[in-house]
Symmetry: C2
Subunit: 239 residues, 2 copies
């Protein structure tokens, strides 16, 4: 494209300060919810969330994501049983943190208005672009789709929780997935009484947010960023 | 928390229609960029992008993401050579699509203002919560972080491209990563002449966006959604 046309396009595409703030607000106020308030999600809103997910980036534009709505009470109950079984297995595997883990609310499947299973499609081996050395990029793409849905839901005032406490083979079997398809998430979606003020696992003192600067290196692992950007900018939220 | 307090929190947390639209705008106008306009990214903006990434959800709040800025020209050139080598390998692996692939611009490492490697930290085995049966959830979390950064960058008027054309072991070695750390992305970040109007791989006819309804099932894989939400809502963008 010509540079002149390109410059115009850039100018037209600028976000206003208010729009920019709204995007950061969704990012900073999004929470991984475990407490839901029942209710329903209107079909047009659910459609918007799924459309947002479908506009995620994907490696080689392969769009590996598939979404299975669990609307049948019996199916949801069977899936919940899988989650409950894995919750107990995880607790045992945690050793000395078993009791602390068992006190946490780790899923909201019975209270959420909607539960959707997200899976990677079968037939993914055909997609080589960007995956020859990193085949797991299909999962990365699907995770971006879920993050899109999550942020859109926050903007709609709806909570989302990503539950990964399940045996993927058992869930695939339960939902009739073909060979090669792979469930990666159970998403609880719906109205909440309130969004946690900080990540629930931080509120419950399970873990603390790391200092950002500890995660940044320059040119070589372990070498601190040499020109650390200013801390506590206006967009740097607490906590 | 009490229901009364919770209700207040919900009311206070509602996004305005304008804020909601801004979030969808970032989601729908974000592009995986390969064409960059050089320039620089101001440190405070770069800090905001990284802060957005760091506020992604993570399984068990493990925050597995690490970011390595490639500011040294020699390092960047060495990393570019890895990408170029993998580009040729991928082309060969694509067989009959080799020529079409070679015509694509698949990375913008030399033109982007900033290049950052993103990696999963070492020592991840200690994190069992949500990963006993799905250990790859650490990658999913890091992908959510990258998607946050991507959307924030779009709102800042900056392009981002996720390059996954590299040998992860070679890149880990080059950047001095410890055993157990795993690079997952090379992010090109910076000013662009223009954002693609649709995904570049669709513009170049490499792939087309799937119809959303083909990706949605109800209760069982292959069973179409029984109550399909209305198509072409106001938030359903073309293409």
């Amino acid at each position: 494209m010509s540079t002149a046309a390109a410059s115009n396009a850039v100018a037209a595409a600028d976000f206003s300060a208010a729009e920019r703030s709204a995007v950061y607000r969704a990012i900073f106020e999004r929470r991984d919810m475990r407490h839901f308030a029942g209710g329903t999600v209107a079909p047009d809103i659910m459609r918007r969330l799924l459309t947002a997910a479908h506009h995620a980036p994907s490696v080689g534009f392969m769009q590996p994501w598939r979404f299975v709505r669990l609307s049948d009470a019996a199916v949801r109950e069977q899936v919940h049983a899988l989650v409950e079984a894995e919750r107990l297995q995880t607790a045992r595997a945690l050793g000395e943190r078993e009791e602390a883990f068992m006190r946490l609310k780790v899923e909201g499947m019975r209270d959420a208005a909607e539960v959707w299973a997200v899976a990677l499609a079968d037939g993914r081996d055909a997609h080589v672009f960007g995956r020859r050395t990193l085949p797991q990029m299909d999962l990365a793409s699907a995770a971006c789709a879920i993050q899109n849905l999550w942020l859109a839901a926050r903007a709609e005032g709806l909570g989302v929780g990503w539950v990964s406490l399940f045996d993927p083979l058992a869930l695939a079997r339960l939902l009739g997935m073909p060979d090669g398809a792979e469930p990666i998430a159970l998403l609880c979606i719906g109205p909440v009484h309130a969004f946690y003020e900080e990540p629930m696992l931080q509120q419950e003192r399970w873990a603390k947010r790391c200092a950002l600067d500890d995660l940044l290196f320059e040119n070589r692992w372990g070498t601190a960023l040499q020109t650390p950007p200013p801390a506590d900018g206006p967009e740097d939220p607490a906590p």
